[in-house]
Symmetry: D2
Subunit: 348 residues, 4 copies
């Protein structure tokens, strides 16, 4: 193997060439600002079509943590909490952005990264059965990630079950789709984008990790965004003055199915990555069907792997092993996966 | 006049061609993320040189409101307030982002957009002379804008006077430089970037309005950023996963003086714009030496102007007139200013 | 004059004897807690009668700043601001409690402590006429003080005019009644408690300054308190575990018109105080008809006055004089006012 | 058994007679306000003596949730989190007051209500070993409750072990002493108040649950309260205008050891309560040595018990039983405990 293979993340690269090309070809044009530019408008319309939601409110924010914090803060009433699994990005890796706007993240058990409707239902039943509940943080919405931080995907039945509990308790369901494309294009996924849009209150279509330089498309499928939502975005520092930056990129991503093509490519690369590891005798930590693959690496092999491959040590395990994350993206090449398979086979 | 002339803002355009080119030529490379990419590191070093601050801490955030909110929230102690003039961007046009993190904006009079050291000094003297001051919001820092929201620039003496009051009361001085280049390149400015860096606690070098697609470079000249500053950035949703987006752009902006060349060009265009208006008999609202020009337009002329020129109606005035803002940028062309002069002269 | 006369404030004393007596006679009884005790329930009912609002939601909080912060935070939507005059208690003397929960205090001019409906109307008209208003803090409610921080009282017409603007813009009107009794019992007041209750969304009846040891009774006349209002109170640290402390006191205050008797007594004492000063040749700062009297004291007299009388220097004036505040309460005695008149007459 | 026995809580009663008497005998006197009254000053001095901390900063707040929220918010830097066990009052029963000021409660396992130093140490070691820790909430202080929500007490060794970890990571240790007296007077406690004061950064001495009508005494043993601590108290709505209310009560509580006599009495009553239950064949849920006793009650007996005794159903258990809480206080009488024993023995 000659070259270093970069599998650290799906944001260690630039923009997908088609996205970059659209930035170039539109660069000389003057535009409106703050979300009113023509490309943002075009991208909105394309997303309304792709989600089959003609009434959808679509706004473009910059990054994932920002999008979660803005959405949660604007959907919740003052002081309410958001229910999420304990491995949720908002519960672990967002530096307390949700708490910064005054809201508690109420955690439920994680099942391979997923929330179980029964856990949610049990929590809420016990909560309201406890006479002291007015002394506790009132649950105000539910947050799930699709695909999850562990690469797993929800089935339609699982989401329907969660949605049903949400409806019973009048809790909006918000889906963090930082890697949504990789979830939807996964073989394990039994629903599509319009289906998802019908089954939640709000979600976002992650751009940063799916071929853009930055940008997340927030969607309220029924158009019922919180009052003064524009002001909420501005107040959270999430409003791009040159909104064309996000608009042009999403315009490209939703032209000729680019968003889904990128996702599908990364999934295929992830399958080859998985085959390479399993073929070389490694065990997978879990059964991720998306572009994040978690491999159990014996600690003695870490140095040699780190010399040739970029990846992240995720969590120490027993028996001198480490759970490591390898991630594919639009930029991962077939050639690289071949090299990887070769390299792994030759390991001592 | 054939074409519509866009003078609505300095962010109605794409990236300066040299910035765009650098994005293109680096796009295929893999990089570290979250601020550790090679271009961010290179840009940091170039900014340290341009500011003559080898110890400076430099971080790249996305937009102005976000940068103000993050900086102010991380510099202030819990519950403290920030002193600013009543026309300050943070006091008016940031949707309460500062208050959202629990801090009051304490306003002082605005003098053509500027804070007077004597007003600051008077406020603080009266504040601490009042026995009830512990019942009031404690002033924790001072915020000024350079150039101001009205296009004016501080003189070195004015900033030194403010700095001196700040030192007396142990208040950090923060300079919002969303349009910093246009201030520094103005004929009216009697200091340079290294001088400014020596005379404040923190400032930022605005990119969005000076040739980038997005990005603001925060500088702590002495390197004494607040503890856990990285976490503060993340918590405010201001951390770019693909930090190369900002890094590459600032790397370009601080190569071959591009940042200053862009600024100087816009200033020249603004001078021609001003001459065009004054030459056609218009009165200027104030004496702005930067790229924002404020013209008093008789209301009867608004429709015909709006047909041919993009600009903003800023404030209604007496005598059936309106204060209007015209803004130049890297994208404003000499040819456009010639057309403008022609067009204005021919107005009835 | 033998004894020092305490006129520093209306909270430099203990409880009114009838309030204290009720605390004593109920002390040995066991009770429910957190607002469900029998005296809180009784006081609620008496307040519903006194306000002629059988549907009113009534809750007892501890102090004024706390009550303002809790009410404003629970009534406003996230990020909205509260409109108040620049001399308002929440704008000046509450250490930024409102900002601490993320809300801006948007200030209007003060007219002897009062808000003018025309100022309010002008602000709102200009606000929504400005195209950039979504970039600004959205006004979410209106706050006025009755009587004001300067002792003045609103007329029914003035409140109706404000209420009318509020209705036009769908803004709840909240009346800070920290000294409500003194306002209502003033000769200058042309409305009563039931009238006030009909003309605002929420208000509170101050206890701390009107004979209680602590306690403020929050009233939503139509019963439409914010959702989860109990939880809001708890979250703001404003829920008394031994809620009987407030309940018993308000039960006493609203028995046999004690609240109004206390207020009326203090008003009478304030009139004598005023006569004493005016009779001795002093000038009043304003025409306060309530229990706070503001007198212009030549600075040369301050030392001798301070030797015999407790009062507060409020604000330095021109011509070597100071605006000083003298406050009466339930504890102020006729005898003391006689002494004061005597003392003032004999001043050189 | 004739009379209903009230064991619902230690705040279902009025003030201890000696506390009430002091309120009565001081009621007619005028005083300074906002914490500067003579009784607050006297109580401060008595607490300095009782804690053997001549330099201590002592402030009186109103209630427990308020005190926790104010202390934690003023000690933490912006955005930092507080470490506590998952059963901690701040994590469960304070309606998210900590999150409301922007801080996450980071939970560790609870061991009969207590935090283990090893859990704390493990958490911190793993936290800083994880390279992504700047993306997480930075731990800023440690919160423990003494006695705990489950009635258990820490040993001196356990607190020393926690303190040692705190020192290693430079984290202030804060002890919630809402029921501190009951912990210190417990037979199971092997340290006293001065010892505790030497082993933590801050703590509070609960008054509400130990004989006062309201009031918690915050102590910074070394005097190093956060900067502008007075303003923090005001900002949190925790400053009593008539501060004498708290001052007089704590003056009484710390005269002739009243605070400790009350606590000791309640402990003795709790022991008799425990003997009564165990003697009647009931099983205790845990081995609480303080004034809160947790008994496992078969569900079939709940109705008859509820007819004669006031208590709280805390948590459903397996086998048709419920964990119930019975609480003693200064007001619990020997006679009542005799009645209880009688009553329990006669149960079918």
């Amino acid at each position: 193997m000659q070259n270093f293979i970069h599998l650290e993340s799906d944001y260690n690269n630039g923009a997908h060439p088609e996205v970059l090309h659209h930035l170039m070809e539109t660069n000389a044009l003057r535009s409106k600002t703050y979300g009113f530019d023509e490309w943002s408008e075009a991208a909105r319309e394309k997303i309304r079509q792709a989600t089959n939601c003609p009434e959808a409110r679509v706004e473009f924010l910059v990054g994932g943590t920002q999008t979660n914090a803005t959405l949660i803060d604007s959907i919740l009433q003052t002081g309410e909490g958001v229910l999420a699994v304990e491995t949720a990005h908002i519960a672990v890796h967002e530096s307390g952005a949700v708490e910064s706007s005054g809201h508690k993240v109420i955690t439920l058990p994680s099942h391979d990264g997923k929330m179980l409707a029964t856990d949610l239902s049990d929590y809420l039943e016990r909560f309201f059965a406890d006479e002291t509940y007015p002394h506790m943080v009132q649950p105000g919405m539910v947050y799930i990630t699709m695909p999850t931080e562990l690469g797993s995907v929800y089935s339609a039945r699982e989401i329907e079950a969660i949605e049903s509990v949400c409806r019973q308790y009048d809790l909006p369901l918000f889906v963090d789709g930082a890697r949504l494309g990789y979830g939807l294009m996964s073989d394990a996924c039994d629903f599509d984008l319009p289906w998802l849009a019908r089954h939640c209150h709000a979600f976002y279509i992650g751009g940063t990790k799916v071929g853009a330089l930055c940008g997340e498309a927030v969607v309220f499928p029924k158009g019922d965004a919180p009052r003064n939502f524009f002001t909420h975005i501005k107040r959270h520092g999430a409003l791009l003055a040159k909104s064309r930056l996000a608009g042009v990129q999403f315009d490209a991503l939703f032209t000729d199915n680019l968003y889904f093509r990128i996702s599908q490519h990364a999934i295929k690369m992830a399958q080859r990555l998985r085959e390479a590891f399993v073929g070389a005798g490694f065990k997978m930590f879990n059964d991720s069907p998306t572009n994040q693959q978690f491999v159990i690496i014996p600690n003695r092999l870490l140095p040699v792997l780190q010399q040739h491959i970029g990846f992240e040590c995720w969590q120490p395990l027993e028996n001198d092993a480490t759970m490591c994350r390898f991630v594919t993206s639009w930029a991962t090449e077939v050639r690289e996966m071949d090299c990887l398979a070769d390299f792994l086979k030759r390991l001592p």
